[in-house]
């Protein structure tokens, strides 16, 4: 009888040699006369264990990891093909690894379990159940279900998704678009990537439902060019979804049309901002547009457009299948549902953690994350990407929730958590925040374009001990000017990390 093995194929597993591990396992099996079927599954998101090899047994899937090439022969000797657990890398049942079993996976319920490109796997795990329900509902009823879920956009701004959809639905019939923002530019984030690489049909399903809800028959996914694996996987998933009749002129035999295309971005952080993204999709430089008009009213090619983050759209199949109330059952206050936390940087156990809103940063970094990778004391953590503040220890006990974070000047953003140990030079981090803004500014407004360049210079002077007091004052004013005078959050928030360093880590702004 053939044994089923699983070797993940997402970017992280591949970046640690998963292809070579898969080949070596096949060789070991062949040389022992064992018949194995190697499935290239998605990643479970337990990245510190990648490449994570699994073996299917009657009791469930058993895990081994992180597997290096040198380990494969010994693993085979120890009886991996029979699910033996004697090797030091054996981890027992995958589902019982605490990091995973303590999560609440609604959106990421399938990742790592299935072959990402297998439609049969997708269907066997509730795939397209949300779409089937949506096809029986009126557009308004779909929008109402999304409103009832309390879902707020996961791209950063946390705007209620149902209200956005309502605006587009309310526009007169005609050409409308669904645009998925897969630009995922924040350092420390990879949840969008995981959706596209490990469960691409979920995004296709979510976008199709969005199309049905607002009366749009064309969708675009705007994907960052830094994600070649996601691009490859998603293109293949699109092809198969078309072949199986889930996309095109007759979605799942309903007579309704929905077409979907993936477009590659070209390495500009600002193109994650929705209006800049639309300009880029139209083939122009990605300049930020003033709002109003809202994209929901005048979006892509001047037409009403839903722009949503990957995770917002990926939450929709669950909401339609299980009901908006089932989603809203999770969370706290006005932050409903689950949040995809992405634990990164200097961390022992980095990876994806999907949990209801409300867990504290400290629990995430210590209980789940196990502290720093280096084993040194944790000093600072940046939440919410390059425009998010650096948080000192005094702020680690606040719950992950949009309002709670906003109350102390923090940003949940897309859910990225980047940890730094005590060797970090916070002055250098402050400088980088300004440098990044200078590199990535679209150039439309002066406070952002010029202010960021000045910011770098002033921080350099402060760090060199040149007129420190006067320059700190100058930096304070410069930050305020950028916050108040910028057209979009790029220039408006780039000072946040700088201000947090001035406030909480002033000792690093000395010569």
């Amino acid at each position: 009888m053939s044994v089923k093995l699983f070797v993940p194929c997402d970017t992280t597993a591949l970046s640690l040699g998963a292809d070579r591990i898969a080949a070596a396992l096949q060789r070991e099996a062949d040389s022992r006369g064992a018949t194995v079927e190697i499935v290239r599954n998605g990643s479970r998101g337990l990245f510190w264990l990648e490449p994570l090899v699994e073996v299917e047994t009657a009791a469930g899937r058993l895990a081994y990891g992180p597997v290096e090439l040198e380990d494969v022969a010994a693993l085979a000797d120890s009886g991996l093909f029979e699910g033996a657990q004697s090797h030091p890398l054996a981890l027992g049942l995958t589902e019982e690894i605490p990091y995973l079993s303590r999560q609440q996976r609604l959106t990421f319920s399938r990742i790592g379990i299935t072959d990402p490109l297998s439609l049969a796997d997708y269907r066997a795990h509730s795939g397209f159940a949300g779409l089937e329900k949506a096809l029986k509902l009126s557009p308004q009823a779909i929008v109402d279900e999304v409103k009832a879920s309390g879902l707020r956009g996961r791209g950063g701004a946390a705007f209620p998704t149902g209200i956005k959809w309502q605006t587009v639905l309310a526009e007169p019939e005609g050409r409308k678009y669904i645009v998925c923002n897969a630009d995922e530019g924040d350092s420390g984030t990879f949840a969008d990537r995981l959706v596209m690489e490990c469960d691409p049909y979920m995004l296709i399903e979510g976008m199709t439902i969005a199309g049905l809800a607002v009366g749009a028959s064309q969708g675009y996914v705007y994907l960052r060019s830094e994600y070649p694996v996601a691009h490859r996987m998603f293109k293949e998933a699109l092809k198969r979804a078309y072949e199986a009749g889930y996309l095109g002129a007759d979605v799942a035999g309903s007579g309704r049309r929905f077409d979907l295309e993936v477009r590659l971005a070209a390495g500009a952080y600002i193109c994650g901002e929705e209006t800049s993204l639309l300009d880029s999709l139209e083939g122009k430089r990605g300049m930020v547009r003033p709002k109003p008009p809202l994209p929901a009213i005048e979006g892509l090619f001047g037409r009403p457009t839903v722009v949503n983050n990957v995770l917002s759209l990926a939450a929709v199949p669950f909401i339609l299948d299980q009901g908006g109330a089932a989603y809203a059952d999770y969370g706290m206050g006005r932050s409903r549902g689950t949040l995809a936390l992405q634990m990164a940087g200097n961390i022992k156990r980095g990876g994806l953690i999907e949990l209801a809103f409300g867990i504290t940063l400290r629990e995430l970094m210590e209980d789940f994350g196990g502290g720093t990778f280096t084993g040194r004391p944790l000093r600072a953590v940046q939440v919410g990407g390059p425009l998010g503040a650096y948080l000192p220890e005094s702020q680690w006990d606040s719950p992950m929730d949009y309002e709670a974070f906003a109350a102390f000047g923090g940003v949940v953003g897309h859910g990225g958590v980047v940890m730094f140990d005590d060797t970090v030079d916070m002055g250098e981090q402050a400088r980088f925040a300004m440098e990044f803004c200078a590199v990535e500014s679209c150039g439309k407004c002066t406070p952002c374009r010029i202010g960021s360049v000045r910011g770098v210079e002033v921080i350099d002077r402060i760090r060199a001990g040149d007129n420190r007091e006067a320059n700190l004052e100058l930096l304070t004013e410069l930050c305020e000017t950028m916050v108040d005078g910028s057209l979009c959050a790029m220039g408006g928030m780039a000072p946040f990390p700088v201000q947090s360093v001035m406030k909480h880590f002033p000792e690093d702004l000395q010569a």
């Binding site: 970017t11 970046s15 350092s187 070209a266 083939g283 940087g345």
Partner: protein, 185 residues
């Protein structure tokens, strides 16, 4: 925006004269081939970025001399096309070496020593950002996040991402890549 396009940025300007085998799958461009790429895409809505990607993917860069061809086909001015190309960090107008290395400069990688890795790679290859090593093997580019932030620091070579990179690992990788290119010839 951007850098004037005629400023030489690389230490190896005339790489078009190097045999195609060295350039890892990139073809030498001709106006006819460029037109072929444009014609295949130009009727899509918002075709400009797909076209620029197609040209760079095929030839390794977007040669200066293709700008008038693109401009004419897309009914835009040359200045507009220049403006678009220079806006996006991904597009380049200079030829590249056999392998393009993107080093992640973003925060998660910084927290795991990417600044030291960055200087190691640059000094080992004798090339700064946007430059190509003297042997035409490697072009070095910056990138801000590859989505591999839990296993930092990361670099990208061609379409392969490599996680938990260290100076030692990089040296071994570079040696392996250099030998395999030689074998191709």
């Amino acid at each position: 925006m951007g850098v004037p396009m005629s400023v030489p940025k690389t230490s190896a300007q005339n790489i078009t004269s190097i045999s195609p085998a060295i350039r890892a799958g990139f073809e030498d461009w001709t106006p006819a081939l460029v037109k072929q790429e444009i014609d295949a895409l130009k009727d899509k809505p918002g075709a400009m970025l797909p076209i620029l990607h197609a040209i760079q993917d095929r030839f390794g860069y977007i040669p200066e001399a293709t700008v008038p061809i693109i401009a004419e086909a897309m009914r835009q001015t040359r200045a507009e096309v220049h403006g678009i190309i220079s806006f996006y960090h991904h597009f380049r107008t200079h030829p590249v070496g056999a392998h393009v290395i993107h080093i992640c400069r973003a925060e998660a990688c910084q927290s795991m020593g990417s600044r030291q890795l960055e200087s190691h790679i640059k000094s080992r290859l004798g090339a700064d950002y946007h430059q190509t090593s003297r042997d035409n093997e490697f072009t070095v580019e910056p990138v801000y996040c590859l989505g591999n932030c839990a296993c930092a620091p990361s670099i990208r070579i061609g379409d392969d991402i490599h996680g938990r990179m260290s100076p030692d690992k990089f040296d071994r990788l570079a040696d392996r890549l250099t030998t395999s290119t030689l074998e191709l010839k």
